[in-house]
Symmetry: C2
Subunit: 431 residues, 2 copies
């Protein structure tokens, strides 16, 4: 079955809003095994919407529209659908009551305009899921093709897609099987290196056809390896994914740092939690991004104590105890990490120092970055690891790559540590 997506709204063409709805719908269609070869945007103009709908229907079986279901004169999707089907718009009294009740439930009276939202092309029906005042619509044409009309508000659109549209499309396409994707997140291998490591298995899967493996390069977030499996029920699909994940992990090793929504920072926090350790950060070129990213994770406060952004060199010397001298070196990074550990009173200290650009510094080109990890007291049973790396890109990219490189170095070291192996003294230095 072929589907297409049409995003409706002049603000999309003018670039005032980026159309993320089509991308999201496209992803959902793909995961559910449906082809979507074409997506388009058109403005709030009746004739052009009608043209765009008719043109899409020459190619596809199902058209999913988003936008143009609001209460104003500019919201023309209902009218366009009626014109395409050659029917009248009718007001649905039940829907009018329902919308009025929504307003009353919020203690407001309904503006007269909103009655427009209770209109539907004759023969079309409203979708059951209706998170906001705009009801979704589905209309079947004489030739059997279907048009869905969903609101432009992303979360309303997504609920309707998930609850109503996708199940109906799957039924229509005769997809009785369950299709589930699982994303393994990796850092530290190029796409071609991943492909090489999984080459044999992917050749096998080309024959078997289920599950499938796809790579998604995701910039400073690494490369995602998406496993998609189908089967008669969820349990069987989950088993397929479990065993495939195991095979992929065996082939790739520690470069897999998380699954689905897990991030490098949540992975690092989980390892720290496993070891009962707290962390402090010393930053220079990243300016605070390392700390900010760690505490993006709700509950980070159990492990994350703080960060010292020593942007000026003398803050590195005086506050962190870095020996006076060059500050872009592995030695300086280690001294910063150890300083953070001591000053912040944490078990672990990590640090990044380097050149974000645009200018060189201390004879090093932009992209030269030194990262260091200190776990426990190096004078006792602690671990020290550092690296000098060269990162590509401009200022912003260098900084973001520095963050994930540092967190990845920390993760790789934490993975080797057993609970109790290293003496912890979290927070005690300061009390």
């Amino acid at each position: 079955m072929r589907a297409e997506v049409l995003a409706i709204g002049t603000e999309l063409l003018l670039g005032q809003i980026v159309d993320t709805n089509s991308s999201w719908i496209g992803e959902q269609l793909a995961v559910n095994g449906m082809d979507c070869f074409y997506q388009a945007k058109v403005g709030d103009n009746l004739n052009r919407i009608v043209e765009a709908v008719n043109e899409a229907l020459t190619r596809c079986d199902v058209l999913i529209c988003s936008g143009g279901l609001g209460p104003t004169q500019d919201d023309l999707t209902r009218n366009a659908l009626a014109a395409v089907a050659g029917v009248e718009l009718v007001r649905d009294d039940d829907m009018a009551d329902r919308i009025m009740e929504m307003f009353m439930g919020r203690g407001r009276s309904m503006p007269q305009n909103n009655l427009r939202q209770a209109e539907r092309p004759e023969g079309a029906r409203f979708l059951e899921t209706q998170p906001g005042t705009a009801p979704g619509l589905v209309m079947e044409l004489d030739n059997g093709k279907q048009i869905y009309a969903l609101p432009g508000v992303p979360w309303e659109m997504q609920q309707m897609m998930t609850n109503d549209v996708l199940p109906a499309l799957r039924e229509r396409a005769g997809v009785s099987s369950v299709i589930v994707s699982r994303t393994l997140r990796t850092w530290g291998m190029s796409e071609s290196a991943l492909a090489e490591a999984l080459d044999e298995r992917m050749t096998e899967l080309d024959q078997i056809g289920n599950p499938t493996i796809a790579f998604l390069a995701s910039g400073v977030e690494g490369i995602k390896v998406r496993l998609t499996a189908s089967g008669p029920d969820r349990e069987e699909v989950d088993q397929l994914l479990d065993s495939e994940e195991e095979l992929v992990r065996q082939a790739l090793g520690d470069v897999v740092f998380g699954v689905d929504d897990e991030t490098m920072e949540s992975s690092v926090l989980a390892e720290l939690s496993r070891l009962g350790m707290t962390i402090g950060v010393a930053e220079s070129l990243t300016g605070g991004l390392v700390g900010a990213r760690i505490c993006d994770v709700p509950g980070a406060s159990a492990q994350f104590r703080g960060s010292i952004v020593s942007y000026a060199s003398d803050v590195k010397f005086d506050l962190l105890g870095v020996p006076r001298g060059p500050v872009i070196s592995e030695e300086a990074a280690v001294a910063m990490a150890d300083g953070a550990r001591r000053v912040i009173g944490s078990d672990v200290g990590i640090a990044a120092t380097g050149v974000a650009g645009p200018n060189s510094a201390e004879g090093h080109r932009p992209g030269t970055v030194c990262i260091a990890v200190v776990i426990g007291d190096p004078d006792r049973d602690g671990i020290v690891e550092s690296a000098m790396i060269r990162l590509p890109g401009m200022r912003q990219q260098v900084r973001e790559l520095s963050v994930i490189s540092l967190l990845s170095l920390l993760r790789s070291q934490l993975l080797k540590v057993q609970p109790g192996q290293i003496t912890t003294a979290a927070g005690h230095d300061l009390d």
Copy 2:
């Protein structure tokens, strides 16, 4: 003249990458007075690209394609253009040399694949601007219609649009007048409050028609007020914009914090530079975002000395000298700001502490944030200002709104200070 945009790439249909190029191109076309009624996305499939191009050409005079100019077998835009024009692809030796030199300049040898990028449909020509290895193309068809092919990498595409495509389109469209937009960036007023403040002037402009004013809500970046003017030459247009900007600034006052690419942080750094002052930051819920954002600005090191992210309460007490007790209060924020100033050895200290969520803390709901600014030594001639604010949204939004609210508070205080009014002692505390 009618233009259309076609974004090419299977990853766009699958939702792996959101197509922001079309939005950006649409905005540029609008600003330059050209109609764009339709934008589409198509995957890496030769027949479908050809179909999509041909279909667009039935409606428009100029088609702008982005994507599909890379070196791999999947990059088919060159082939599609050749098919549309009914010509062969030819290799351009000059371009091959140029690409090879680019690789050599980076100390790498050119993969054989990249020679594909030196191919062009017979009769098409390469664009002059070429920031990366992928050259842009323009091809004129027998019927006089034009197709531009630009790379999918946003910054490469944008440079080609700005330097080559837009000037050529303006000439083609006979736009002899110059059209220029200027964006005034605001923080602290709602869109309806801005509209009210500018109501009278906008009614006048509706009559005059030139310049025009438009509002663009930009989330945590505030609301942009875009002035667009046209005239026979740049000088006259700039004069129109200058006098309009003056009128708008009179109506809006200090809520205008910057023009075009100026950000709140660059505005703050400019004020600090004017006063010859350095800054240190103390952060809690923002986790490092304030510092990270300040040093997003190249050259920030002249003013920004560092930041202390005191996420754990005892780091606030022990390192910043905040009195033990509740840490979500204006008093604690002031103590943090003053602590940052002293510990980091800066002239100015600023701080944010509060509840990002999802849970409440110290009896305060998520979104409760205290911000403080200390300029100079409060025991001498320094200034202290603080506020408790309530911010809407979830964890991430609360943190980002905290950053700009704090920087805005700082900016409003710095604007009142004259050079020499407050004693500075940058960096001396530590030496």
